[in-house]
Subunit: 252 residues, 4 copies
C-alpha cells in the first residue's frame, strides 16, 4: 500500500497476478455500483469489493471514482495488503484498507461495502441500536455494533486510513454482518456481492422505518427466535430483487 504511505504492509510477498477475472463477477461488481447509486445508498463516495473466489488472497474493486460511473474497465485487483496487482495504479481509494483487513479477519466474507448510507448516519451517532424491523433485516441481529475510531486512534480523523484503524473496525464488526462507524457511515459484509447489496438496501429502509416507528411509541423488533430462524434459512428467491434493481439501474 504505497500510495499514501500510511498503511503498514503486513507482508513482503510480491503480489502475484490472480487469474483472469471472472466476467460474471466483474459484471456483478459493476451492477452493484450502479444499483447502490440508483438507490441513494451510495452517492459520490463509498466502495464495494469482491474477493476473488479462485484466489482468495486478492479482491476486486474499482479505481477511486464515483460508483455511479464505474465500468468493467475500472475494476482492478488488490492483494489483502491492499497493494494493486498491476504496477503503476495510482487512483486508489485511500480507505481500501478496510477491505483487506476485513477479508483477512473474516475468511467467510466474499464482499465488502463501505458507504455513507443517509438513514444509517443517525444510528452512527446515537445510543439507539439499529435493529431488525422485518425478516429480511434479520442479519442486523440484536443490533448493529457501532465502531468508535477513538478506541484505536485519537488523531481526529474519522476516515479509516491505517492498518490499526482497519483492524479496530474489523474487531468491532466481529461476526456481525454490518457495523456502523461513528460520524462516518457503515460497512456491510456478506458471502456474495448480491447479498451485500441486498443488505445495504434493506439496512437503509429498515433505518427509516425504525425512526418512524420510534415516533409511535415502543417498537417491537424481531424476537431472538425469529433472528435465529432467519440466519438458518436461505432467502427463497433473493435474485428476484437483484434482477429488478439491475434493470432499473442499468436499463435493458
Amino acid at each position: 500500500m504505497s500510495t499514501d504511505g500510511r498503511a503498514n504492509p503486513s507482508s513482503n510477498m510480491t503480489a502475484a497476478l490472480p487469474g483472469t477475472p471472472d466476467p460474471a463477477l466483474l459484471e456483478d461488481l459493476v451492477a452493484a455500483n450502479r444499483i447502490l447509486s440508483d438507490h441513494g445508498v451510495l452517492d459520490a463516495y463509498g466502495h464495494i469489493s469482491a474477493r476473488d473466489p479462485a484466489n482468495p488472497g486478492y479482491y476486486w474493486i474499482s479505481r477511486s471514482m464515483a460508483p455511479a460511473l464505474v465500468s468493467a474497465a475500472d475494476i482492478i485487483a488488490c492483494d489483502l495488503d491492499n497493494n494493486p496487482v498491476r504496477p503503476g495504479e495510482t487512483s486508489l481509494f485511500f480507505e481500501r484498507v478496510i477491505h483487506g483487513e476485513i477479508f483477512k479477519a473474516r475468511p467467510d466474507v466474499m464482499a465488502v461495502l463501505h458507504n455513507p448510507s443517509p438513514s444509517l448516519i443517525p444510528f452512527c451517532n446515537s445510543d439507539t441500536r439499529l435493529r431488525p424491523m422485518v425478516g429480511s433485516a434479520a442479519f442486523l441481529g440484536e443490533g448493529a455494533p457501532v465502531f468508535d475510531i477513538r478506541t484505536v486512534d485519537e488523531g481526529g480523523d474519522l476516515n479509516i486510513c491505517t492498518i490499526a484503524q482497519a483492524k479496530g473496525l474489523a474487531q468491532a464488526l466481529g461476526r456481525h454482518c454490518l457495523v456502523l462507524l461513528r460520524g462516518h457511515g457503515a460497512v456491510a459484509v456478506g458471502e456474495s456481492i448480491r447479498q451485500v447489496v441486498r443488505r445495504a438496501i434493506i439496512a437503509e429502509s429498515n433505518a427509516r422505518q425504525q425512526i418512524q416507528a420510534a415516533l409511535l411509541g415502543p417498537v417491537h423488533f424481531l424476537t431472538a427466535g425469529e433472528i435465529e430462524y432467519a440466519k438458518r434459512m436461505k432467502p427463497k428467491d433473493p435474485d428476484r430483487a437483484w434482477r429488478l434493481w439491475k434493470q432499473r439501474a442499468m436499463g435493458g
Copy 2:
C-alpha cells in the same frame, strides 16, 4: 399445493380449468402490478390476486417475479387450495396460501394484495394502531388489526407458508379491509382489483400522515359516524385515480 410440500391441501378435487380469462380482468391485474410498483407500495416482493368472477373457486395471480415486470402472459390461475390449474407450473409465490385462505374465508372478497408497504412497517411493530386520517381511508375503520404469527406458530418464520398460518391471518383480518403482519407487511382485500390498489396506496400515505401528525400532538381521527357513513357510500369517481395512475405507470 405441491411445490413446497408445506401446505395441506384441504380438497382432493381435480382442479378444473376455469373459462378463458377475462381480458379486462387480466389487463387490470397487470396494471395493478405496475401501478403498485410505480407508487413504491411494492418493490421486488409482494403479490396481488383476483378471484375469477365466473369461477369463484379460482383466482388469478402472476408467477413468482417482481411485480414491476409482470405481463399478461405471466398470469396463471390457481384453485383455492393454491394449486395451479395448468400442470407443470413451478415458479409460484410460496406465500400464495394467503390468497386461497382469504378467498375461502371471505366470499365477498374479489382481490387480495400482500405487500411490504414501507410506511406500514412501523405500525406492524407498534402498539399504535393505523387509523383513518381522511375520508378515503375510512376503510381502516377503528384501526387496522395486527396479526402476530406467534399466535399460530412459534417456529420463528415470519412468512405465511402453511395453511394454519394463513388461516390465522384470515382470522385476524376478520371483516376488516386491511391487516398488518408483525415484522412483515400488510394484506389488503376488496371487492375489485382497483379497490385493493386504491386502498393500498391510501394506506401508505395515511401512515405517513399519521406519523407526522403524531409529532404535532394528539391526533383527531375520523369519528365513528364518519367511518360508518363512508362504508355506506360508494366513492363518487374511483376510476379517476385508476386512469391517472395507470397512465403514469404504463405510459400511453
Copy 3:
C-alpha cells in the same frame, strides 16, 4: 347545480354566457393544474378555479378529471350557483359548490383551490396550528383556521356537497388565505391563479418544515410585525417561480 340534486340553487336567473374566455387565463388555469400535480400538491383529486375578470359572476374550472390530464378544452364556465353555462355538461366536480360560495363571500378572491395536500393533512387533524416559517408563507398569518364540518352538518360526510356546508367553510375561511378541513384537506384562495398556486406549494413545504422544526424543540415563527409587513408588500418577482414550475411541468 342540477347534477347531484343536493345543492340548493340560490338564484333562478338563466345563466348568461360570459364573453369568450381570455386565452391567457385559460393557459394559466391549465398550467396551474399541471404544476400542482407536478409538485404532488394535487394527485387524482382536487380542483382549481378562476373567476372571470370580465364577468365576475362566473368562474372557470375543469370538468371532473385528474388535474394532471387537464387541457384547455376541458375548462368550462359556471355561474356562482355552480351551474355550468353550457347546457348538458354532466361531468362536474361535486364539490364545486366550494368555489361558488367562496367567490360570493369574498369579492376580492379571483382563484380558489381545493386540494388534499399531503403534508397539510396532519395539521387538519391536530390542535397544532399551521404557522409561517418563512416570509413567503406569511399569508398563513397567526395560523391557518381549521374547518370542522360537524359545526354545520353531523351527517358524517367529510366532503363539501351542500350550500350549507360550503357557506360554513367560507365562514371558517373568513379573511384568511388558506383554511384546513378536518379529515379532508385544504382550500387556498388568492387574487390570481398564480398566487394561489404559489401559496399551495409554499403551504406544503412550510408544513413539512414546521413538523421537522417541532422535533427540534420550540419553534420561532414569524412575528406579528413580520406578518403585517409581508401583507403590505408585493413579492418582488413572483413570476420567476411560475415560469420555472411551468417549464418543469409542461416542458418547453
Copy 4:
C-alpha cells in the same frame, strides 16, 4: 446599487471593467446553479456568486432568474458595492447586497451562496444548533450561527435589502462557513464555487440526519478534536462529487 435605491453605496469610485471573464470560472458558476437546483437546495429563488480572482473587487453572479435556467450569457459582473459593471443592467437580485458585504468582510471568501435550503429552515427557527454529524460536515464547527434580522432592523422585512442588514449578516457569519437566517434561509461561503456547492449539499443532508437522530435520543456530534482535524486537512478527492453531480445536472 441604483436599481432599488435602498442600498447605500460605500464608494464613489467608477466601476472599472474587470478583465475578460475566466471561461472555467463561468462554467463552474453555471454548473453550480444547475447542480444546486438538481439537488433541491435551490428552487426558484437564491443565488450564488464568485469573486473574480484577477479583480478581487468584483464578483460574478447571474441576472435575477431561476438558477435552474442560468447559462453563461446570464452571468454579469458587479463591484463590491453591488453595482453592475456594464451600465444598463436592470434585472438584478435585490438581495445581492449579501454578496458584496461578505466579500468585503471576508477577503478569504471566493464564493457566496444564499439559499432557502428546505431542511435548514427548521434550524433557522429553533434554539437547536445545526451541528456536524459526519466528517464532511465539520465546516459547521460547534454549530452554525443564526442571524436574527431584528438585531439590526425592526422593520419587519426578512429579506436582506440594505447595507446595514448585510453588514449585520456578515458580522453574524464571522469566521464561520455557514450562517442561518431566522425565517429565511442560509448563506454559505468558501474558497471556491465547488467548495460552497459541496457545503450547501452536505448541510442539507446533515440537517435531515440531525433531525432523524434527534428522534432517537441524545446525538453524538463530532468532537472538537475531529472538527479541528478536518479544518486542517484538505478533502482527499473533492472533485469526485463535483464531476458526478455536474454530469447528473447537465448531462454528458
